[in-house]
Subunit: 375 residues, 4 copies
């Protein structure tokens, strides 16, 4: 009812306020026997960390994930990995870098563009410190869950890579297939094209100097997804991907394949023709974005996510107080001028969770696996 | 697991293949005592019917909804309405206009852009007649469910209206607030601006004459939504709206408020400043689209949905057969050149279902209603 | 929320009031490709029908199940069976034998032991005709769902058989393993031991002659259940079986294996010792009832269900009216003096649904099936 | 799918192995604004603790619950209570008293009556230390969740009290209404009748001296439950209570009201006649156990739970090893000869969770609360 759980067969529940004792989560449904490299999970978490790129907020949280359950630690397993027990994998990340005094002024203030007021409207109270549970800090738990999901996807040869494709009016023009996506993590702005990245960085620095913020777009590609994932009516694969992305803080839009561009196209151009290549039947183009009728078709899954500019800026804005009176808001603390570089691992994490969930859900689509030899 | 159910507290399950005995659904969670005008439900269904506008396919199905359960028929209730019993409201719509011979050729054919092949890949078999369950005919059941939800929303003064805002390269330029949205149903193309509608219609007719199809966009406004709806982490109000829309056939994108445009904006421009008017605290602009932090803020909820052009066209296309060999596809039957006019009631229906669901879910957000007087 | 759906991976939603247009259900999650013998489903439904044994109510409903969706009818499939499409299997059973005039007196009456008053307390209104949705007629939909589930279990060699083990003070003393359970359907009272059956029938006839009713017990055995079914914490196999049974009308108790007898036993006697036989490791006894720690162990699953005597009797009773005033109740219509014979197929149906659900749920317990050869 | 979450509107997810880093849980759905006395929660947890009665295992875990999220700590709230934020309430209980060396022998051993083997059969591996997640230690998390639920029930005047009603062949013969149930916590064996308690204690001590164990029964009464709770078809109030109880370790049976005794009764005796008293319409007897047709009727809810004797005993038993070979098992560690005294708080906790869940679920049963004044 309160919507803190995501997924059906591979399921994550997250908890925690930005300035409470800890944030964390519980992953339920990870199949027993899966080998999990915990160092890799920590490394994925580090990519989302404030301070992971020079462009973000300097809030410096070590963000160490601590696993509490669900893992068998291996007793001399040669690869040093943990093994999933099939039971809930619970983890916490302690909150450390509290500066609650920075937030005291926010207790009775509604900042424009923030969830301050709607949270009060819904619950009658809120933890105002650092945004409480509405803080993007909550997404760290998703990154841990996504890193577990990814190790399940690895077994199937599924690889998920997101990257920044737009910051303000700077667009990445090159097609993803022409770039080396593995270069994403070398880029401070998480854009695989060096010259575009340079312009994005310049824009972000300019915006920061202005005391302002700027929006952007993250694109994501999933390769190696087998055909057949997605449930064709309400739980279409792209519907669940869309819900996952729209549930990330600051997201305002989602599109798959041709997306909003499809609205302007003719069918004769839009339809992906079938073609035969060495690997069998393929589609010659991929305007479907790898999903047809809600079900993956074996081509790359490609989608875009639009992020609004962060609401917190140094410039003065027309806010209000809890009594409904006008109140000027001028942020003084540390704030990201642009969230998209740090959103890249969150987009990947949610994509991994959706794909792992549908991979498991699909296990019962056909009667064959349950059939004895005489069936 | 198979994803044929939508919603948590207000929940619809749909069933049925396009050319099976019937399609239909079960609505569970409609509160007991709700008065339901069944004629209004049928009238909403009629708006989605093939033939409801001169622009669509001429397939002529009367599409009479038959209610099987969950209603008390009133015994002289003066307004002639039925009363919800609090039990599941099941309904069916018989399929009548079968021309299975038109579909015989499709049995072993994979049409470009269709779900023919992915369905086979997932389930190993499919009902090929008229697209089976992948047909947009399934959405008729959603319209019935939405019409029930809408009568629950009516009690709260919530009004949902969708309209066509784009067909191919013809865009509706006027803001919704400047138009009379009640004129939507008088427009064959479901666009409230007469001169834009005229150009849209001309484009659709030209596309039809070419044997081609064209995409479009539906926009939707929900007025009177109280603040507080939406669950702030995974089940954000716009995340559930997005999932609902992306689950409609042919949808490729969803955005709320400023949407993809937000990616190009600065925060100082994007943030909705607070303002006081006679009704109390408001936002001076509505780039948030009525949702902040995943929770409704009392402003209009505004979103857009992108539809691809229909896949079935008269022009020859490169398809394939079930054996993976090339096969030319040329549609001969009756087909919509543009789905967006008929998608308008489906968008409204899914929006109503999401809002009704969150209205009910929200009933337990605060302890107050459960508190006795001394609490 | 309203609880009309049962199951997670294999899921049934039922709908319908006893004297509405129809009752029915939707089965979601049946794997595609499963061959379904529809005549067998109808035959299972016939076993629950009023009039199926000479001991029940003479209400004579033909109870023909009509399938609306989810099945491919086979086009010359040599065995004449339908094939599951992987989509929702919807079905209805029309209500025919209405004698609403018999129920007019019940409109404002609360019968002792019935749900008349609690239904009003919960929903503010009810369909009083024949008990509305609180009627045991609803269980016919479960029998159809169970018959579908059973054909999935058949593929695994799982066989479920229930029987009457007690009527009033007449107890079946023989162990199930010593009897031919296939004789159950030849017995009017559904008891496999002829001499006990005779005494049960005599008791039921005597009770009927007295204008009274009597309670009883149904026992159930599931053979061939593979080890590993059941989720070990909240969704233990016997917890889900118990919930399924307690959800059947008139059920007051559930026990598995040693059941309430275990409360009086010592561990040295109760523990099932391990033993080796030709088939490998077994338990020498089966006080666990085939479930240990919530998970099936490969032994027979054995449980008992207690039914209260039917509330409706000819004898005068102290009821009340809707205004809270005393009102004598004397039933005049057709009523079962004992429900257990007709409850046998319902117990089996719910057991089949639980087992099919856990069979499918178990498909993702281990990572192995998802691992490629190099995993 | 893996079944580690319980409840619909008030929902608990538990995690943790007996000898992992911690056990704990996440409560989602607790309404915002609820005042929570954390000291009371700790006190309830203390009642379940090993060592809380002289009869149990001497394993001495301090079992301090640490809350991580979901609470506003009050800043000078005069009553010292925390306030629920409406967000997930996560908590952990660190595991401290590890003696893993005691469990080394169990690594390759299947103990009779335990979940050792079925866990391996399901997941392919298990954490053998102290039973891992199959240990009753997991129920400590339920007690915390139940203590939160109870403070929600307190607001409604609902009071839940369980007690031991049977140990081996010693039965509590007095009716609960004749005893002072508040005396339960003063009794080492959690039986409110002093002389019966004395005999129970003597039996447990004798069994312990024999190196054996003994079963028992816990009964539970919920007073002040308003009419209308429970969903009448699959999610009947007693079906959910039964599932909750059968999900507790070592439980073999559940009955409500007349329970298995109803199977032997006639309707004329069993039906609860209606009667008028000062409080309005009541039932003169309560064989229904407070639930009719799956819905609470306002009378006391009364049910019984049967526990088998603990499997671990000092006496030698016929076990097996992982290779399927016979292996004698003789427990040497610290073990409870009888679990029912320590099960009393667990039964209460699960009852509180079920009642809180249905209290919240019931909030949307009727349209009235959503109706504006003109509705």
């Amino acid at each position: 009812m309160r919507g803190n759980t995501f997924g059906t067969a591979f399921r994550i529940t997250t908890f925690g306020e930005s300035h409470g004792a800890a944030i964390g989560g519980v992953v339920d449904g990870c199949p027993a026997g899966l080998a999990l490299d915990l160092a890799v999970i920590q490394a994925e978490l580090d990519r989302r960390r404030p301070g992971s790129t020079p462009l973000g907020t300097p809030r410096n949280e070590p963000d160490r994930v601590e696993f509490l359950s669900g893992l068998w630690m291996g007793e001399g397993r040669p690869d040093g990995k943990a093994t999933a027990l099939g039971t809930p994998i619970a983890f916490i990340i302690r909150n450390r870098d509290h500066r609650p005094e920075e937030y005291a002024q926010l207790k009775d203030l509604y900042r424009p563009g923030h969830a301050d007021r709607t949270w009060d409207q819904k619950f009658g109270l809120r933890d105002h410190r650092g945004g409480g549970r509405s803080s993007a800090r909550e997404t760290a738990s998703r990154v841990v869950g996504g890193a577990i999901a990814r190790q399940l996807l690895d077994l199937q040869g599924i690889r998920v890579q997101a990257f920044v494709s737009q910051v303000g009016d700077v667009h990445l023009e090159r097609a993803y297939a022409e770039m080396d996506l593995s270069a994403v993590w070398q880029s401070d702005v998480r854009c695989p094209d060096p010259s575009t990245a340079e312009r994005m960085i310049a824009l972000i620095e300019a915006v920061r100097a202005d005391g302002d913020s700027v929006g952007g777009r993250v694109s994501c590609v999933a390769r190696g997804v087998p055909a057949g994932l997605g449930e064709p009516v309400f739980d279409k694969l792209h519907a669940d991907l869309g819900r996952a992305m729209l549930g990330i803080n600051a997201v305002k839009g989602f599109q798959i394949g041709s997306g909003f561009g499809a609205a302007g196209m003719r069918g004769s151009l839009h339809n992906d023709a079938y073609a035969i290549d060495g690997a069998g039947l393929r589609t010659a183009s991929n305007r479907s974005g790898g999903v047809q009728g809600g079900i993956s078709n074996g081509e790359d899954i490609v989608f875009d996510v639009a992020f609004k500019p962060p609401s917190t800026i140094r410039l003065a804005q027309a806010g209000a107080d809890r009594q409904g009176r006008p109140a000027t808001v001028e942020a003084t603390g540390r704030h990201d001028p642009c969230v998209v570089p740090r959103a890249v691992p969150v987009v990947e994490a949610m994509a991994c969770i959706v794909l792992a969930d549908h991979l498991l859900r699909n296990a019962t689509a056909m009667a064959a696996p349950f059939r004895p030899t005489t069936g």
